[in-house]
């Protein structure tokens, strides 16, 4: 068959390779803007395809013409020393004034349509989320549910979400490349952005600050989780509850380092059970809210959503120490932490400077999406956050640690055991 002629086979092979690399590209490029997982990104994507196709045509046309001219009219021995001295050609010049004008008109029409479509008012029944930018972390509020959280955004599949964007300090920009954005967070105004995650499954997405906002601009990240409406309802109910850790006055002193084990060895303590890393969360037996779904399951976290920022080499982490969450609570609710953080249900912890810690144990990342929320990283974070994320307000807490902002070594501060206690408490705050 002529269909199997060599050029055709070659062409088919090339097509296969191209397609394969395109698909592989989507797998390897989790933050690509071309994922089309929301109505917003589909609209932008179709506009973008038009731009890319037209751009490619113009590019190829122009460069081919250029290279053709270079080859055809290169100086050769015997070529005329004085070629025809043309000064211009009105018809040609009108032609190539008209061509870009037509190309731009083709772009302008869908551009304007998309502007008005994407910037129109969101549906009235859209989920309202208030995004507040802080140097360098994200505060997410769900005003309809009275939920306040940080750096992790939960979005129900199929429901339009309408973000109200504002800032606490400098200008930031809210961007989840695979879902939509970006839109700036500007002082003294509230910006809006809406989209519907309607073409995806439960999944985790990376979000970024896209406007330069100071020393840790690169470290101001967040995660967005798309979950089913049922899971979302469960998550909301859990977030609405107060802190789930209430220590008894006389808790046995020795509790293991991870909260999961803590629950096993200290059954009288109503500690929410932490999953072993990689395990599906088990509903805590004594938690005040019977939440089936309290956070995105760690084992479903795609690789790209798990932060890989290294801990600074000089920062020693001792994960063998067993922390006592009750002692940890004592330290947290009477120490420096009260200056900045809120834990609902703990009367001394009401400050709004830093992220709300009521359910910090259920989060998958810490430090503005910079580190995974595991014992090792949380330990290092409490010990010396400023060595892990430049410029932040969260102070260096570990005794003997060097504070890179104040530029002194701490003579007072938490011992490693105390840090382990704080970590145990925070991990208990499911």
């Amino acid at each position: 068959m002529p269909a199997d002629s060599r050029p055709r086979r070659l062409f088919r092979a090339a097509l296969t390779v191209a397609l394969a690399s395109l698909i592989a590209g989507c797998v390897q490029n989790p933050n690509s803007v071309f994922h089309n997982r929301t109505d917003f990104n589909r609209d932008v994507g179709s506009l973008f395809s038009l731009l890319i196709w037209l751009g490619t045509i113009v590019f190829v046309f122009t460069e081919v013409m250029l290279v053709w001219a270079l080859i055809k009219y290169r100086s050769r021995p015997g070529s005329p020393r004085k070629p025809e001295q043309t000064h211009g050609n009105t018809k040609l010049e009108i032609l190539w004034t008209a061509i870009p004008a037509v190309v731009l008109a083709i772009i302008a029409v869908p551009t304007v349509q998309t502007i008005f479509k994407t910037q129109g008012a969101a549906r009235a029944d859209a989920l309202r989320v208030e995004v507040v930018g802080h140097q360098w972390w994200w505060e997410f509020r769900y005003p309809d549910y009275g939920v306040v959280t940080a750096n992790e955004l939960y979005l129900p599949l199929g429901r339009t979400v309408n973000f109200a964007l504002s800032t606490h300090d400098v200008i930031h920009s809210f961007w989840i490349p695979a879902l939509g954005g970006k839109r700036d967070l500007v002082n003294n105004r509230t910006n809006h952005l809406w989209f519907t995650p309607d073409s995806t499954t439960d999944d985790a997405f990376n979000g970024y600050c896209a406007e330069f906002c100071g020393i840790s601009h690169a470290n101001m990240r967040f995660r967005a989780f798309t979950v089913t409406p049922e899971q979302f309802a469960s998550w909301v109910a859990h977030q609405q509850s107060s802190a789930v850790f209430h220590p008894q006055p006389a808790t046995p002193a020795t509790t293991p380092g991870t909260a999961g084990a803590a629950a096993a060895t200290a059954p009288r303590t109503p500690v929410a059970v932490a999953p072993a890393p990689g395990a599906q969360p088990v509903p805590p037996p004594t938690a005040p809210v019977q939440a089936g779904f309290v956070s995105f399951p760690a084992d479903k976290m795609p690789n790209h959503a798990i932060p890989k920022t290294p801990i600074p080499p000089g920062l020693a982490v001792d994960t063998t120490l067993k922390g006592d969450p009750a002692r940890g609570m004592q330290l947290v609710s009477t120490g420096a932490c009260i200056g900045c953080h809120t834990v609902k249900g703990v009367p001394s912890m009401v400050s709004k400077v830093g992220p709300d810690l009521t359910h910090v144990g259920s989060r998958l990342t810490i430090g503005g999406g910079l580190f995974p929320n595991d014992t090792r990283h949380l330990f290092a974070w409490i010990k010396n956050a400023r060595a892990m994320k430049p410029g932040i307000q969260m102070p260096t807490m570990g005794k003997g640690q060097y504070d890179p902002i104040v530029k002194t070594t701490l003579t007072v501060g938490y011992t490693d055991q105390q840090i382990a206690d704080v970590v145990a408490y925070l991990q208990a705050l499911k």
Binding site: T62, L66, E211, I306
Partner: protein, 623 residues
């Protein structure tokens, strides 16, 4: 009228200037000031390139730790600020200085001492800005310096250096702008009406209008920022009800015309290079002039396309999208006219020509991606990502720098009397071309795959490793290219082939006089009867690189009885005291307000004294 312009005399010896440091400090000769601009800007190019190199080492792999976050922010801020204000603008100024009087048949600029003043202000301003490195407080707010990050949230001297440094540099650009506008309007040789003016001078003329109209706006924006930082005003203080977008509007009303300030001189240079090495006149000269004017005019009406993400609303977005797309039309026309200048010609691939062709090829890419972000919804996914970094490096490196390097190879003989080596130049070109594309082409993909700009690190596993490694490898090739280029300049300055008047067979007046030209440029002011006066005498592109140089010395101005301006040190003093006056403001933030006030008053007095002494001294001896 009997004649057309002056024909070149054969193989003249270059003019020999008196040497010595003092003659350089006091020079008011536009060609020597141009050379000072050239060498200073090339030095800052090395510094700005070094900053970029460190950035690329840091980003070579994920979660890099080569430099700290603070250092990284200082590096990218200073890389941008340096390349824009200390490299591309002054390199353009070097060519303005050298070429405008030569191309219009004048003996100098309208205000020679003001011209020297512009250079000294630029030199001192650039030194002041970079002195911040020495105290470990280089600017760290980005070249765009958005408030309130740079007002309320940046204590420390970093932003002070930036604000004051830009104010100083603005004075330089404004003074040069008034000077060149007057020069071009008022010093053209007989017969050189506007539509006979060489195209480079035309682009330079347009750029001067952009300068004098755009710089006052940034001056005021910076004054507000300076007052906020030093005197507690509330222009950008959000708590007082201020709108931080005020800064963005003022900055970009300046910032977008600034883009054309950076690119139009390069457009002018390649519009000189392409005809010479195609042995054909520029295709569609009037359209090239009008499109330049149109680009400049529209350039004042598109600033908010830098702000599509700030939430201006659909109507403003539509308006600025449409005006931005309109600019694509005159720009596209220029590209096609360049291609058709070569079409049907007899193309000689000299190094200058290669760089000029590279501009046409690479600026096209930057232009197309530019149209992509003229569309606001699509721009939301592009702005503040590496896609934009790729775009403006195709425009500023692929466009401006390629054009300026074409100009460097083409006009080096007019600066120095010697030719740059074509052999080394070929290496220089190909290394630059390959390195540039390897660095910036992958950034289109890094951006669309979700890499924000101005980030100290990116995480592993985001599909960005290969692309960033490619960009870094490209940067290392560019380092090699810069070293080769620097070697070429240094060696050729001393040992290059001596150029005659007209080594390339160029069409315009600058090629009719010796290289380097005598201080009076033209013994007789030529009378111009066409756009390409020299091609009336010889076929296009017929060079006269002499095998032997005639021993006949070029006569001095005194011997010919031509009145020349006296050298003067006063412009340097005025510039110095002005810079010191601004520098004294830093003392306020060091807690030494009385000393600062005393310093400012002293410097202001000395500056005024020097200025009066300058203004009350006649430019020339009585004759």
């Amino acid at each position: 009228m009997a004649t057309a312009a002056t024909a070149p005399a054969a193989a003249q010896k270059g003019y020999e200037h008196e040497g010595g440091i003092w003659s350089w400090l006091t020079t008011v000769d536009h060609k020597r000031i141009g050379a000072l601009y050239l060498y200073t800007a090339l030095l800052w190019f090395l510094v700005g390139g070094l900053e970029a190199l460190v950035i690329r080492i840091q980003l070579q792999g994920p979660n890099g730790r080569f430099v700290s976050a603070e250092m990284y922010n200082q590096l990218f801020t200073m890389h941008g600020t340096t390349m824009i204000f200390l490299v591309i603008m002054p390199l353009s100024a070097a060519f303005f200085n050298l070429l405008i009087p030569l191309q219009i048949g004048a003996r100098d600029v309208a205000f020679p001492r003001l011209n020297a003043f512009s250079y000294w202000v630029y030199l001192f301003g650039s030194l002041f800005m970079n002195a911040s490195w020495l105290v470990g407080a280089a600017p760290n707010g980005g070249w765009f310096g958005y408030t309130p990050l740079t007002s309320t949230f940046s204590p420390g001297l970093n932003i002070d250096f930036w604000v004051l440094g830009l104010q100083i540099l603005g004075v330089s650009s404004l003074a040069a702008g008034f000077n060149f506008i007057t020069t071009i309007i008022n010093m053209r040789a007989p017969g050189m009406h506007f539509m006979r003016m060489p195209i480079f001078t035309w682009m330079a003329f347009i750029v001067q209008f952009l300068l004098v109209l755009a710089f006052p706006v940034i001056t005021i924006a910076l004054v507000f920022l300076q007052f906020d930082r030093f005197f507690g005003t509330q222009f950008y203080e959000a708590a007082a009800g201020a709108d931080p977008l005020l800064w963005q509007h003022l900055f970009w009303i300046f910032g977008h015309p600034e883009v054309y300030i950076l690119i139009l001189p390069a457009f002018g240079l390649v519009s000189e290079v392409l005809p010479t090495f195609s042995r054909k006149p520029l295709f569609g000269y009037p359209v090239m002039v009008y499109s330049g004017m149109l680009i400049a005019f529209l350039g004042f009406g598109v600033w908010a396309h830098h702000m599509f993400a700030v939430g201006m609303g659909p109507i403003a977005d539509t308006l600025f999208a449409v005006t931005t797309m309109l600019i694509g039309i005159p720009t596209g026309v220029k590209i096609f006219n360049w291609i058709f200048t070569m079409w049907g010609g007899d193309i000689r691939f000299t190094t200058a020509m290669k760089f000029a062709i590279a501009l046409v090829a690479l600026f096209t890419i930057g232009g197309i991606s530019g149209v992509m972000h003229a569309s606001p919804p699509a721009d939301l996914q592009q702005t503040d990502t590496y896609f934009i970094v790729a775009h403006f490096h195709y425009v500023l490196f692929g466009g401006s720098m390629m054009g300026l390097l074409a100009g460097l190879y083409y006009y080096f003989p007019k600066f120095t009397g010697r030719m740059l080596s074509e052999k080394i130049g070929t290496w220089h070109f190909w290394l630059t071309f390959v390195g540039m594309n390897l660095t910036f082409m992958p950034m289109h993909w890094s951006g669309l795959l979700g890499m924000p700009r101005r980030t100290w690190v990116y995480d592993a596993g985001q599909g960005l490793e290969t692309l960033n490694l490619m960009s870094s490898l490209g940067a290392y090739i560019q380092v090699l290219a810069v070293l080769v280029g620097a070697y070429n300049v240094l060696v050729s300055m001393r040992r290059g082939v001596r150029a005659g008047n007209d080594p390339w067979g160029g069409p315009t007046l600058e090629w009719s006089i010796p290289s380097p030209p005598p201080d009076y440029n033209f013994a007789a002011i030529p009378t111009v009867t066409s756009r390409y006066p020299l091609w009336e005498h010889h076929a296009p592109g017929t060079s006269d690189i002499p095998r032997t140089i005639s021993d006949q010395r070029v006569p001095t101005a005194k011997e010919l009885g031509i009145p020349m301006p006296n050298p003067s040190i006063k412009p340097l003093f005025v510039a110095l005291f002005m810079t010191l006056m601004f520098a004294c403001m830093l003392l306020i933030h060091l807690g030494k307000t009385p000393l600062a006030i005393a310093g400012i008053i002293t410097c202001a007095t000395l500056m005024t004294f020097s200025l009066y002494s300058w203004l009350l001294t006649p430019l020339e001896d009585e004759h």
